[in-house]
């Protein structure tokens, strides 16, 4: 199948701004799915609210566009009900980690098999450029006209601490790595988190004088290094890319299957 076979062509052109990184993520995701040779019928995409959430409408999978921050909770119900389905949950940084932060922690803690893709553009785009939990100290946003005093956090460290068994990060500049990491995340038997730094030239870029889309992607190229690189020691502000965590722990649905096996048909 070609890439075109995975999208709902009649719903294009998409609604993202020119230069938005989300289309790159969509492209990489489709290539990952294609390389896995998965049937479209076995993939469920559950999203929340925001620019990132609209990705689910464009793919020809089972797609559920839910409410803000709760995508992982809906996805948990779907996965527990039908563990044979592959569940992919694309989220924005605000969607996943502000309003949806609690669900994010607990989905990771359960180690329920699904792929959480956090499309981190450090801003609320859909509502017009308010600061997000990932904007970072001193960033400018429409609700931080005098500079943001909120601190961000490290999604990878947070995910690891919460119990995610696969944690990785990349950017929209590193498209081949992005596609490969999505593939690895989908294949992982447990809760996997992939943070993708994705540019929002319209709001984050404009407010923070970060340049247009190519310039922002150039920054991803210059300011990130492969995990474990020597360069990080010399310049601690560099952002690491790659796989931070990959381990095997009991997966939630399989654990519940064991509970059923042990107790089925024992009447009280």
């Amino acid at each position: 199948m070609s890439v075109k076979d995975y999208i709902r062509e009649r719903f294009f052109p998409h609604m993202w701004c020119p230069g938005c990184g989300h289309g790159v993520v969509l492209n990489a995701m489709i290539r990952a799915v294609e390389s896995l040779g998965m049937s479209k019928n076995e993939i469920v995409m559950v999203s929340g609210i925001g620019c990132s959430a609209r990705i689910s409408g464009y793919v020809d999978f089972h797609s559920m566009h839910t409410i803000h921050g709760r995508a992982l909770a809906f996805a948990t119900g779907i996965k527990m009900s039908r563990p044979e389905l592959n569940v992919i949950v694309p989220m924005g940084d605000g969607d996943a980690l502000a309003i949806g932060g609690n669900h994010f922690l607990h989905a990771a803690r359960r180690n329920i098999e699904m792929t959480a893709i956090v499309m981190n553009n450090r801003i609320y785009g859909m509502t017009g450029g308010q600061f997000s939990p990932l904007s970072g100290y001193a960033a400018a946003a429409s609700t931080a006209p005098y500079g943001n005093i909120d601190h961000g956090f490290d999604i990878a460290k947070l995910s690891e601490a919460a119990g995610a068994t696969f944690v990785a990060r990349t950017t929209t500049y590193h498209v081949h790595e992005l596609s490969r990491l999505i593939r690895d995340a989908i294949l992982h038997e447990g809760f996997s988190v992939l943070e993708v730094l994705t540019q929002c030239p319209t709001y984050f870029g404009r407010y923070n004088r970060a340049g247009d889309a190519p310039e922002m992607m150039e920054t991803y190229k210059n300011r990130t290094v492969a995990v474990g690189s020597e360069k990080k020691n010399q310049d601690p502000d560099l952002i690491e890319r790659g796989v931070f965590v990959k381990k095997e722990l009991p997966e939630y649905c399989r654990e519940y299957e064991k509970v059923i096996e042990k107790n089925q048909q024992k009447q009280t």
């Binding site: 469920v44 559950v46 559920m64 709760r70 009900s81 039908r82 519940y256 107790n263």
Partner: protein, 382 residues
């Protein structure tokens, strides 16, 4: 009625009835006075190959059951007032996306944390108006365990028939009280199974194209038809649209599929109405005291009647109007500052006949409390 006799809590009755109705999936979060429902589900569901989830809060609980239901399983959650408040946004999502589910609210005293271990009926309006935007909703209740069983099964039947969330508004008294219940034999109460599409794989399928009767034959999520589900206004493929015609058509469909079928979801009991000079209108735990009073005073020849509502939403205004037609006094007995009384006043002719008998102190209204109000109304003093 043939069947197994049990002496259990109302919350356990609700569990037995849900399983009888074919429940396969439950997600919930502990909250008094509904927790026993989650506890019993955690033990019972794996025994039948079903699934129980204890989620991180009530929001995720309702989201999880909506997700599970979309894949084709009968699903339910249970909570109390504060948790029900948290569920309101997702409740609207279930309305909009037409995903069947049952939400139990075992009511306690409110607002806020209120009275966790005491009774209240303050969530009647929350059930109706809690989620934002215009919408129709179904909310049912019961006053005793046998009715609780039947009405819980009906809740699933309505949810599946009309692809809508259904709310069960129980309360602390009925939830925690133990009394006899006969679990009906299989088949004694008929069950509605979900309508599934007959459209075959590969044929253009319209998940959100209702039939003439408003019912939606949907394909289970994860099956042969891939479609989009969204809380946005959407077209027959489930894809977002703000086309005024589509928006109008969808909101009309969502309202009409309930409002045009209120007869299919109106449940009530009436006792001694024929010659009643005073009609008590009540529901849930409060109706137990109302019934007790009516039975006692009838023995003394007083012309007292009872209309016990089991359907609160859509409000059975026609039934109330007919039953109360000849009464001189209509007394609404409820455990709030007056939520159902508003609907009763709107429904009846000459609303000046309608009075309130209530308690709002966390205690169940007693037959004597109601009798004292009646004495005042009848000019006998207390």
């Amino acid at each position: 009625m043939q069947g197994k006799v049990k002496f259990i809590q109302g919350n356990e009755v609700c569990v037995e009835a849900a399983l009888y109705a074919g429940l396969e999936f439950f997600a919930g979060y502990p909250i008094t006075p509904s927790t026993e429902i989650a506890e019993a589900m955690s033990a019972r569901l794996p025994q039948i190959g079903g699934r129980f989830l204890q989620m991180e809060d009530e929001i995720s609980s309702i989201c999880a059951i909506i997700g599970a239901s979309l894949t084709g399983r009968k699903a339910m959650t249970a909570t109390s007032g504060p948790g029900f408040s948290l569920m309101q946004e997702a409740l609207g999502y279930a309305v909009m996306t037409e995903i069947p589910c049952v939400i139990v609210d075992v009511q306690r005293g409110g607002p806020s944390t209120g009275l966790p271990t005491h009774v209240g009926q303050g969530d009647v309006n929350q059930a109706r108006y809690g989620t934002h935007g215009d919408h129709a909703i179904v909310a049912l209740t019961a006053s005793n365990h046998q009715d609780m069983f039947a009405i819980t099964v009906e809740a699933f039947n309505i949810a599946e028939t009309f692809r809508t969330p259904v709310i069960l508004l129980f309360d602390e008294v009925t939830g925690h009280m133990r009394e006899k219940v006969v679990i009906p034999e299989k088949g004694e109460i008929s069950l509605v199974e979900r309508l599934r599409t007959s459209v075959e794989s590969g044929v253009d399928y319209h998940p959100y194209l209702p039939r003439e009767d408003g019912r939606l034959p949907m394909s289970d999520f994860g099956g042969v038809h891939r479609y989009n589900v969204t809380g946005l206004y959407h077209d027959m493929w489930g894809f977002p649209s703000d086309d005024p015609k589509i928006v109008y058509g969808l909101i009309r469909h969502l309202m009409d599929k309930i409002q045009n079928y209120t007869g299919n979801m109106t449940f009530f009991r009436q006792d001694h109405i024929e010659d009643a000079h005073t009609v008590l209108v009540s529901y849930g735990a409060a109706a137990r005291s109302a019934r007790h009073l009516v039975e006692n005073r009838r023995k003394r020849g007083e012309r007292l009647g009872l209309l016990e509502l089991q359907t609160l939403w859509p409000f059975p205004g026609d039934v109330v109007r007919k039953v109360c037609k000849n009464a001189d006094y209509i007394v609404v007995v409820e455990l709030n500052t007056g939520q159902v009384i508003r609907e009763v006043k709107l429904a009846v002719d000459r609303p000046e006949r309608v009075y309130l008998a209530n308690r709002i102190d966390g205690q169940l209204i007693s037959p004597t409390d109601i009798q004292n109000i009646l004495r005042l109304l009848h000019g006998k003093g207390v």
